[in-house]
Amino acid sequence: MKRSERFIANSIKIAGSSSILFILLIFFFLVKEGLPALGEVSFKNLFSLRWYPIEELFGILPLISGSLVVTLTSILIALPLGVGTAIYIGEIAPKKIKEILKPTVEIMAGIPSVVLGFIGIQALSPFLRTFLNLPTGLTALSGAILLALIAIPSIVSIAEDALYAVPNSYRDASYALGATQWQTIWGVVMPSARSGLMTAVMLGIGRSLGETMAVMMVTGNAATSFAGLKSIIMPVRTMTATIASEMGEVASSSVHYHVLFFIGIILFIFSLIINISSSSLQGKTKQEKGQVVS
């Protein structure tokens, strides 16, 4: 028994540290395959506004702005809906409704993104085209709405955990002071759960930024340059869709191949920033909470 226990303990240890190893391996692989792009493509070409790789035009700015437009718009949609749902489930809903709502949101998380993309092509984009009178419904907005649907379940479950972690004594104290339910939620529960709510948002952003399939199907994939707010209702091409649709055709070690990996590095850096800022936010509140208790 002793021996098997040691075996299990070691296996778990290896499993636990393996993710660090994987991250490092992935990072080195990305750098090895992506950095040569900086030597092969002139700086002017790489940061130009035209992406057309079969003619050696490797301007990645439209792809970056495309990803940012889609992601930020999706968060603007998903944040109120997601946090609102979490507040309703966690604070307001009667037990029966809660028992229906929670699994429903979890089912939503399980819908494959390609299915959402299909619905997006067949229903959402024609609707947006006629409703907003756009030239085409295959726009950043269609992608953002689908991404919001994908991000909402993760936002809801993390935000709900954050609300659940707020001690009941806070609520009781607030009610004892004569606050209404809304005042308690807005003035006490949400500020106490702030860091958890921020984490939920950050993870939602990460989820949106990395999503590929649904976005590729409905955003039109035209590498248009950033045009301010108008970009939201224009076709855009995201970084993930570019990698997904072009990786299959490139000859390995060609310039195009290296540039695609360079885009991968940029995506990696973006999600790193998101993850670091969400965990630093978490750390901060833990300290704050510690002070409150002491």
């Binding site: 028994m1 079969i54 024609p126 085209r129 085409t136 224009m234 055709e249 000859a251």
Partner: protein, 292 residues
């Protein structure tokens, strides 16, 4: 203790299962009655129809057909993961070099002909265009249907992704009108859709849209444009007849490529594809059979 034993047995069973399935796949490939066929999305339906019919007559042969684009097919052929690459464009010099450094000479077979149909929504009154007008639309020089005698609507340009042979063909033969010196490219706001079905769906629903696709993919729900090579030329609708007699201006060969001269089962399959029986299927799917 019993539980641990059970765990190890389960892991053991999985491992053996994994190993044995690996060797099975390897032996199937070795005896070469398993043919992997991949590439052009234009050709995929036709290749599937051929594979299905052929397997009925030759149940000992297994043929798997996947799409992904002509470029994807060539890459897979060069990497040695498939036996036959489907392509809607000829192999590029760079790809031939890569094949040679991988140790084989790609051999080309023209298996069918295809017309590229330019399509619009049935509600769009425009039904005739010259090749030059189509080129100017896709270059971004014409942006409203009213400039072409249509309604006052913006033009939404649709194209396949750049890994598609159809995309490259359209770029060279329509946008550049076959001129090697011309370096014009698609307008940046051209929507690049990942599939032929995506283009048909958007053209069907959107009366602003213009798209192009292989004749075999065009459905009744969209309207084909009659094209003329010159301004005062005759406007011709694509059909098996106008492609065969060379009247329709944008048609091309569809190809299969093998790793060196095909042998054994692969050779038999290609020979069958070039036979009259297989070429009859070509007509059924809306493509144009090769001339005898």
């Amino acid at each position: 203790m019993k539980r641990w034993a059970l765990l190890f047995i389960t892991i053991g069973v999985f491992l053996t299962a994994a190993c044995s399935s690996g060797t099975e796949a390897a032996s199937a490939q070795g005896s070469s009655d398993y043919i992997e066929n991949k590439g052009s999305d234009t050709l995929v339906n036709l290749a599937l129809a051929w594979a299905e019919r052929y397997q009925v007559e030759h149940p000992e042969i297994q043929i798997s057909v996947t799409g992904g684009g002509s470029g994807t097919g060539f890459t897979a052929l060069i990497n040695g993961t498939i036996d036959i690459a489907n392509a809607s464009r000829e192999i590029k010099d760079l790809e031939i070099e890569q094949a040679e450094s991988a140790g084989f000479e790609p051999v080309e077979f023209t298996v069918a002909n295809d017309a590229i149909a330019v399509i619009v929504n049935p509600e769009n009154p425009v039904s005739e265009l010259t090749l030059e007008q189509v080129a100017r639309i896709y270059k971004g020089e014409i942006n409203n249907w009213s400039e072409l005698g249509g309604e006052d609507r913006p033009i939404v340009r649709l194209s396949r992704e750049s890994n598609s042979g159809t995309h490259v063909y359209f770029l060279e033969e329509v946008i550049r009108l076959g001129d090697d010196e011309d370096t014009s490219i698609f307008s940046a706001d051209t929507l690049l859709l990942p599939s032929s079905e995506g283009i048909i769906a958007e053209v069907r629903d959107n009366s602003n849209a213009i798209g192009y696709d292989g004749l075999g993919y065009v459905t009744e729900e969209v309207k084909m444009i009659a094209l003329a090579s010159f301004e005062n030329g005759e406007y011709i609708l694509p059909s098996a007849e106008t492609v065969s007699n060379g009247q329709y201006p944008i048609s091309r060969g569809l190809y299969m490529y093998t790793r060196g001269e095909p042998q054994g089962a692969i050779k038999d399959y290609i020979d069958w594809i070039l036979s009259a029986e297989a070429q009859a299927i070509v007509t059924d799917l809306g493509f144009v059979p090769i001339m005898e």
